[in-house]
């Protein structure tokens, strides 16, 4: 009954619960089965902490990515295999809430999949304590129609597109006059970066079943480990689920979420990113009409931002040194949080914290005709 999992650090992969493989299928009814499980998780420095994690029904990996199509009827069932009550919510998806479920119990909710974009599912009880103990995951809603009038595909619903997003997605095309010469953005070109923070003292409090007061946790939470999709440092830098790869001209969408309490400052090398979206006061996806190119962006608690990593030729290489003849491909570029305390694990061990890198495989696409 009390299925206590042991996760070796680095084992966390890309379990995907897919509501619909067909991006633009008819509205369908979809069922997602989840459970809350206690788990012992080994961190990057070998320390083992107690966490609470969402699992999919037949999945061996925690915090599965839930994929739905906008407007679909989605049923989520949740079994609570932990020794205290747990609940479920998706900020920005009206009606997607399951009230507290007693230990051993089961809950269920049916709701319409929200507008195209990136969402965070979580346990809202005792906020932010249960979320910070590990109970969170990403939900991706595919738009029913995500095209610009110019025919480019976007990750957002057509009716939420702004003039700026239309201009940008239309500017990614195989045309020498375009700003980003190359392929248009394609849905397969995507990485999810789900940030989280772990305070071993809070984990221990939960394991020993000491009472936890969410408001107190909000004040005293002191994270010592900083993860992307459950991984950090060396592991997140090598994980295929985290590390973007591609050739010049292959733009990629980064779906960035912060399930932690602390504000992160993700900073990317090699290319600037374009910030496409943010979160409204009600949790809805806000598609920006002023798209700013940044090398560093702000990720507050519960933030969700979609960004384009353009995979353009790194702009600050001298033309006489491009493409490089001596220095080999792939060119590899760091992404790390610049609030550098997040680069540590257990009080030191730089850079075993919130970091990864991306790989530029070559100066032209292998399939490009030129």
């Amino acid at each position: 009954m009390n299925r206590r999992q042991f996760l070796t650090y680095g084992g966390a992969g890309a379990a995907v619960l897919s509501a619909s493989e067909e991006a633009y299928a008819q509205a369908t009814a979809t069922r997602i089965d989840l459970s809350v499980e206690p788990a012992d998780v080994e961190l990057i420095d070998g320390r083992v902490v107690y966490q609470l994690l969402f699992y999919g029904a037949a999945q061996s990996e925690p915090r599965p990515v839930i994929r739905v199509t906008e407007g679909d009827l989605v049923t989520v069932t949740l079994r609570n295999n932990a020794p205290e009550p747990h609940a479920f919510a998706i900020p920005g998806a009206p009606g997607a809430e399951i009230a507290a479920i007693a230990p051993g119990g089961r809950g269920e909710v049916t709701f319409r999949a929200p507008r195209g974009g990136t969402y965070l599912y979580l346990d809202p009880l005792n906020a932010p304590a249960h979320r910070l103990l590990g109970l969170h995951g990403a939900l991706i809603s595919t738009p029913r129609d995500g095209h610009t009038p110019g025919g480019a595909l976007t990750p957002f619903s057509a009716e939420t597109l702004t003039p700026a997003t239309r201009l940008l997605f239309d500017a990614m095309r195989d045309d020498p006059t375009a700003r980003f010469v190359g392929d248009p953005w394609r849905p397969a070109r995507e990485k999810i970066w789900l940030f989280a923070q772990i305070d071993p003292a809070l984990c221990e409090q939960a394991e020993l079943r000491r009472p936890i007061d969410g408001a107190a946790v909000q004040r005293t939470f002191a994270p010592r480990y900083f993860t992307i999709n459950g991984l950090s440092g060396f592991d997140s830098s090598e994980a295929e689920t985290v590390k973007p790869k591609g050739y010049v001209g292959q733009p990629l969408l980064i779906r960035n979420l912060n399930a932690g309490r602390n504000t992160h400052a993700p900073h990317i090398h090699g290319n600037h990113v374009l910030e496409l979206s943010g979160v409204g006061a009600d949790g809805s996806v806000v598609v920006r009409d002023n798209i700013i190119e940044r090398d560093t962006w702000i990720m507050r608690a519960l933030d969700r931002k979609d960004l384009i990593l353009p995979f353009e030729r790194p702009q600050d290489i001298p033309p006489g040194a491009w493409p490089p003849k001596e220095e080999p491909f792939p060119l590899r570029y760091a992404m790390h949080c610049h609030t550098e305390m997040s680069q540590t694990a257990g009080g030191g061990n730089y850079p075993q914290g919130l970091t990864t890198h991306w790989e530029l495989l070559g100066p032209t696409r292998p399939t490009a005709t030129s």
Partner: protein, 342 residues
């Protein structure tokens, strides 16, 4: 001399050890070398004390310019400005002396070898020349990227400005002109961290580098409250002049910024808003009395029209904790300065 990339993170096998603890230490030639238009040398300088308002001396490290004839030759902190023109091929030579360091030109997008990230390339124990050519005019900075959590806090950074071909006075081609310029680097200082050695926290050592409790708050090397009066910080303008404040958040705080005058954010992270290559962006108004938050390492360029009537107008930087969101040091974590219109 051929470069052995297998002795670096570029082609060497990356292991848990090479990633953080036992990083590549070499002094290679620069690959794909081309003739520079301008050269800089930066020498690691690891011992200068800054006197804080409470009388405490805090140790900083920095980069000095050994070729300078002015104070930059023995500059305690912050490191001397690197200022170049868009399109110039730049060579920055790092001289490390003892210990290893790197230079990352933050916001520049060069090749991996010239990007200064140790675990993806190498740390410099002697000397290396970084090659880059800025394509976008704007506000950047450079800093050491070894044990960055500590070396950046220790002050191993300096501002980096790229002027458009037209030169200073224009922020970027087609962008706003300015008459008066200020370069402000915000920093927060936890004096406990300034007692550590270069490698503190590496290889499994727990020195609590996840706990940051700053007690001093600085703009461009000047601790508050001297930021209100120090000529290195305060801005002097004539009525109706255009003032550009290039603000670099070199702190580990979320910086809340407000001015007593209407301002406009005209560029972010070295990219002009509304420039021809970025028709999906536009400048952001920051009306007087409202604030904007900047996270660590972001750069915002603020354009302010000095009013027709002389006067003194405030600028306020609040240093807020990345966890609680509260102003650091029990509310003391503020640096204020002034724009004096006369």
């Amino acid at each position: 001399m051929a470069i052995d990339f297998t002795k670096t993170g570029v082609s060497g096998e990356q292991t848990f050890d090479s990633f953080g603890c036992n990083v590549w230490h070499v002094n290679p030639d620069t690959p794909d070398l081309v003739r520079p238009d301008i050269r800089f040398t930066r020498q690691v300088h690891d011992g200068a004390d800054v006197l804080m308002p409470d009388g405490r001396e805090v140790r900083f490290w920095s980069f000095s310019d050994p070729n300078a004839t002015n104070a930059d030759k023995d500059k305690p902190f912050p490191s001397p400005l690197i200022r170049v023109r868009q399109g110039q091929v730049v060579h920055t030579t790092l001289k490390s002396a003892k210990n290893t360091h790197t230079i990352h030109h933050h916001g520049m997008d060069p090749t991996t070898f010239n990007d200064g990230v140790g675990h993806l390339s190498f740390e410099v124990s002697g000397s290396y020349t970084y090659q880059w050519r800025p394509a976008n005019a704007g506000t950047y900075f450079y800093h050491c990227h070894k044990n960055t959590v500590l070396h950046f806090e220790m002050g191993m950074y300096g501002p980096l400005i790229v002027d458009p071909p037209e030169g200073p006075g224009t922020l970027f081609t087609g962008g706003p002109r300015y008459d008066v310029e200020a370069i402000w680097v915000a920093d927060d200082v936890d004096p406990v961290w300034h007692e550590y050695n270069h490698d503190a926290g590496l290889c499994g050592e727990d020195v609590a580098l996840d706990r940051f409790s700053p007690r001093y708050f600085m703009i461009s090397g000047v601790p508050a409250p001297r930021t209100l009066t120090d000529p290195r910080v305060i801005v002097r303008a004539k009525p109706r002049q255009k003032v550009l404040i290039r603000l670099i958040n070199g702190a580990y705080s979320v910086l809340r910024v407000a001015f007593d005058l209407d301002a406009t954010i005209v560029a972010v992270d070295g990219r002009g808003l509304g420039r021809a290559a970025s028709p999906w962006s536009r400048p952001i108004p920051l009306p007087r009395g409202t604030s904007v938050d900047m996270t660590s390492a972001q750069r915002f360029d603020f354009l302010i029209d000095a009013p027709a009537t002389p006067g003194t107008y405030g600028a306020r930087l609040e240093f807020r904790d990345w966890g609680t969101g509260e102003i650091h040091a029990g509310g003391r974590g503020v640096a204020e300065s002034r724009i004096i219109v006369a």
